[in-house]
Every structure is written in structure tokens, then in C-alpha cells.
Amino acid sequence: MAVVPVVARSRATRSTDEQSLLPNSGSGGRAGFWLYLIPGFALFLVVILIPLVWNIYLSFTEWRGIKPPEFIGLDNWVELAGDTKFWTSFGNSIAMIIAMVIVPTLLGLLLAAMLFDLVGKKFGGRVASFLRATYYLPQVLPVAVAAIVIGWILRPENGALNTVLAAIGLGDLQHNWLGSPDTALLSIMFVMVWVQLGYPVVIFMAALQRVDPELYEAAELDGANWLQRFRWITVSIIRPEIFVVTLTCTIAALKVFGPIYTLTRGGPGTSTIVPSYYSYSEFFQNQQVGYGATIATALTVVIVLLTVVFIKAQNRAERAESER
């Protein structure tokens, strides 16, 4: 699961009045409501905040999980900076961003517009809804199971893909798709596009319902072709959704773990390693807890920074839009 709702939207609630919606008849006035936050806060403290701070602390220690952690200052961080395996894993994160954000968003935009604007209009909403549900199908699968489905298709001996290639006379292209370093990452990228595509399609189609049909008609009368209407009406109106999809999927791409674990365990070599899997393997295979914590903390920093930058950019764009 990877849903990060848009923090930017909660700005809307900020400007509303400061009064509680309930008249002050109960005990303690507005402050009395804090009682209701206690269970949530207590659990949050134990499950999120303390482990997070602890993990940051561990990133400055040498710990193999048995004897108490030994404080070593910045040593892990210095090691991380020079660790080619770590930089490879981040490079692969960029590949995941291409596969889980850029390709699905662009393709999803096109598919959603096509389904809504052309298929929906000419062939009825049911046809469009059915196709949308088909595109969405891989999204309901547990990602570990999705990976198994694809891993099974890509297996080198009598896997479905190699068999198809042989059957259509392209036997020369048969390959150990996940097992050789030159194609392993690309294969995983394909899996992720397949898994992710339905999400933007569904969100964008829902967003398109907001578009006033008269806008399209007016543009059509003015002689705008489909591509122009797509660019100037569709894309500009659903910009908030494009932002949501891009942000949530980028975070998901940086966190990706399940498919790597089930399909390749980072291999062959380090060709498909990602930060999340690297830190997991440091924790539980190499017993280098301190170093694993360093990787996890670095990943956290990247995600938090990226989110802040994203939301700032979005707010600026929104302001520019409203001033126009």
C-alpha cells in the first residue's frame, strides 16, 4: 500500500473558523477534545515516532543486534557516501520512478482521455467503464502475487514469454529475462508499469467528469483539434489529480520492496537492488543493523525532502493559477 494523500489540500480547512462545530456545552470546552486524540497519539508514539527516532540514532552506531549498539559518529554515513552498491540502488530507484511514475502517468493520461472522450462518447459509458476496470485489474493484486505471476511468465525454461517468442518465429529473442543482468531491471520495470497503469487511469477518468462538456464544444467550434483540446482543456483541468498521482507514485517507487524481494532479491549481482531491499538485507542477512538503519534513514530523508519540494511547487503553481 502506498497512499499519501495530498497535504496541500488540507490548507482548505485552515482558513475556516476556529470555533468547534459543537457548542460548548460539554466538559472542558474545545480543549476537552484532546481526550479523543490520546489513543491515536499513544499508538503513533509507540509504533512510529519512537522507532523512527531510534532508527535515526542507530544510523550513528555499529550494531549487530546482540550486544548493545556502539556509537560511532558519522562513520556509517561516510561509508554510505562511498558505497557504490548504495548509489546503484538509488540509480535503480530512478528506473523505478520511470516505470512507476513517468510512464504510467503519461500513458494513463492518454488512455483516460481516450476512454472518456472518444470511447465513452461514441460507444457508451459501459464500454469505457469495462475497459477501465480491465486496466485496473493488476492494482487489486497483492504486489507479491503480481510479481509471482510475472516471474512465472518470464521464467527461462518454458516460460510463457519465451514460448510465445518461439511460436511467432522470434526464437532468437528468447532470454533469461530476470536472470541476466542486462534485462533484469528492464523486466522489473515492465512489471511495475503493468501493475501501476490502472491507478492513474481511474483517477484521471474520475477527474474528467469535472470537465464541462461545453468547454469541449466551444473549443471544437473554434476549430481546435483533439490534441489541442487534450492539451489545453483536459490536462489543465485535471492538473491537481496529475499532481496527486505523481507524488503518491513517486513515494511508492522509492519505497518499492515486494517485487524486488519476490523476483530477483536485488540480483543478478546488484543489477536490481533498491535502497529498501538493501537496508532489509543489511538488517536481516548481514546483521549490520547500524548500516541498514543508515540506508533506511537516507531513504527517509530523500522521501521527506521530495514531498516538501513537491508540495511547495504545487502550492506555487496553484497560486500562479489563481492570480491569472
Partner: protein, 297 residues
């Protein structure tokens, strides 16, 4: 990563897209576009079909006819072998129990939080929401080892409750965010009327707010259930013994098993995907009703 957003439910088969009545003459290029969309859909669905076909094939049948032909006769041994190997009913129950518990507990926590934030409008509520959302945003690895250590200390390691507690917190972060904005626009007149009748805060929450927002809560329950069902890293780390594993974990763990023949692997994938497909089909309607009634967005 399976990303499911509540927006998914805004448009539904029951609500044909707005422009349907303007159905105009279909040109050749319209048919070409439809064909392209259908072919694309077929490509996306192809892996499901391939899995379905091969789950019912014998290994001999597979060896002679390959993965693309229909089974020459129905063969259930692959499914049966996997079913018994992992004790599938047990895994199904584990997944069901964990996801169900998380869904209920996380909604309760979300309601409490959102009551204070959305209705009570406590000071600093924007920051409280942002803080809670950390739970959703952080990579789980950044919590993994400390949680692993903590649960070992208190004897909850390799116990389904460790996973239930963790996901209750993670899911309720999203619930708090969503419900706070829903409750923030709760009709004030209803609250005032209840308050004039002498209802206490607790009574207003349980007898007025919760019943009125039930459709939204149902949506949250379903999403939390599916999200928790699909989780991988934390169940993999915390539920090490066979008897505690969830469906996705047990399937993934078995992949390393060299004894698994090709059709059994296929059968395991089929058994892994069926439950989620069933939920999806059953709950589509509830989800729509929830969205329209709760006016989420």
C-alpha cells in the same frame, strides 16, 4: 506497489459517463481507437488468463503443449498440492483475521482523531494531520528494526498482533486525514440540535456522527482491509513461523522451493489472486454508495 485511492469509486459502471446521450455517428477512426483500447486491455489481462489456463494443467500437459494452449483435461492436483503444502485455509484465515482486525481498529482510531480534529477543531490540527501522515509516507524500513526489537522484547514477535498493531497505526493515519475533512463540513445544525437535547459529547459521537457517516466509514473499512491484505514487508519480517503467515507471504516464501513444478506455481498465483478479486467485485457497490453519501473529496 498496489495503490488504491478512494477516488476509484467516484465513477462506477452504474453511472454511465455523462456524455453518453450525445452518442454520435461512429467513424472508422472511432472503431480503430476502440480496437486499440481493447487490444491494450487484452494485453493487461493476458497474464491473468495465462495463469488461469495453466493452473488446471498437468505438468506433462504443460511440457508437451506449452503455456498457451487450453488444458487437454482438467487437472486439479497442482491446486491441491499447493493448497495442502501451505495449508491454505490457515493462511486465508490469518490474512482475514489480521486485515479484519486492522480495518475495524483503524477506523475506530480514525473516528476518535477526526472527532477532535474535524468537529472539535483542536489547536494546531493541520500539524497534527501532517504528523500522523508521516506514518503513511515513511519507508517501513525506517521503523522495521526498532519495531522488530521492541516486539521481540514484549513477546509479540511472530504473533499476528504485532502486525495488527502496526497497521492499525499506519492505516489510521490515512483515515484521520480523510475523516477530518469529512467531519470538518459536518452539518452544524444537527450537532446543535443534539446538544440542545442534552446529549453529551460521547453520545453525539456515537449516536449522531458515527451513524450519519457510516457510509464513509464502510469505505474506509474496505480500503484498510484490502491494503492490509496486500502488505508484504512487515508480515514477511514479523510472521516467520509457517502457522502465522499471510497469503502473500506464504506464496512468496514458497517460490524459492525448487520442488514446485511449473503448474503448481501457477496454481499458487491463482489462489493468491482469487481472494482479492472477490473482494473487489463484492465491494464495488458499497464503495460507490459510500462515496456519494459521505461526499468524500
Amino acid at each position: 506497489m498496489a495503490v488504491i485511492a478512494p477516488e476509484l469509486t467516484v465513477a462506477e459502471p452504474e453511472h454511465p459517463l455523462k456524455l453518453r446521450q450525445r452518442k454520435t455517428r461512429r467513424t472508422v477512426s472511432d472503431w480503430l481507437i476502440l480496437a486499440a483500447a481493447v487490444v491494450f486491455g487484452a494485453l493487461i489481462a493476458a497474464p491473468f488468463v495465462i495463469i488461469l489456463i495453466n493452473s488446471f494443467k498437468s505438468p506433462a500437459d504443460y511440457a508437451t503443449s506449452g503455456p498457451l494452449s487450453l488444458p487437454s483435461n482438467l487437472y486439479f492436483d497442482g491446486i491441491a498440492a499447493f493448497w495442502e503444502r501451505v495449508n491454505f485455509p490457515e493462511k486465508l484465515w490469518n490474512s482475514f483475521f489480521i486485515s479484519g482486525m486492522v480495518a475495524i481498529l483503524a477506523v475506530v482510531i480514525s473516528v476518535f482523531n477526526a472527532f477532535a480534529i474535524g468537529i472539535g477543531r483542536v489547536r494546531g490540527r493541520t500539524w497534527i494531520i501532517v504528523l500522523f501522515l508521516l506514518a503513511n509516507m515513511l519507508p517501513q524500513e525506517a521503523l522495521l528494526y526498532p519495531l522488530y526489537y521492541m516486539f521481540k522484547q514484549v513477546g509479540l514477535y511472530d504473533n499476528v498482533w504485532s502486525v495488527i498493531i502496526i497497521f492499525t497505526v499506519i492505516q489510521s493515519a490515512f483515515g484521520t486525514y480523510l475523516l477530518s475533512s469529512v467531519y470538518g463540513t459536518f452539518p452544524k445544525e444537527i450537532l446543535e440540535a443534539a446538544s440542545l437535547d442534552g446529549a453529551s459529547r460521547w453520545q453525539i459521537l456515537t449516536r449522531v456522527i458515527v451513524p450519519i457517516s457510516r457510509p464513509t466509514l464502510a469505505v474506509l473499512v474496505i480500503f484498510f482491509f484490502i491494503w492490509t491484505w496486500n502488505e508484504f514487508l512487515i508480515p514477511l519480517t514479523f510472521l516467520v513461523s509457517n502457522a502465522n503467515q499471510t497469503v502473500p507471504v506464504s506464496i512468496a516464501v514458497l517460490q524459492g522451493d525448487r520442488l514446485m513444478d511449473v503448474t503448481t506455481t501457477s496454481a499458487s498465483a491463482l489462489l493468491g489472486l482469487i481472494p482479492t478479486l472477490v473482494f473487489f467485485l463484492i465491494f464495488q457497490r458499497t464503495l460507490t454508495r459510500g462515496i456519494t453519501a459521505g461526499a468524500v473529496k
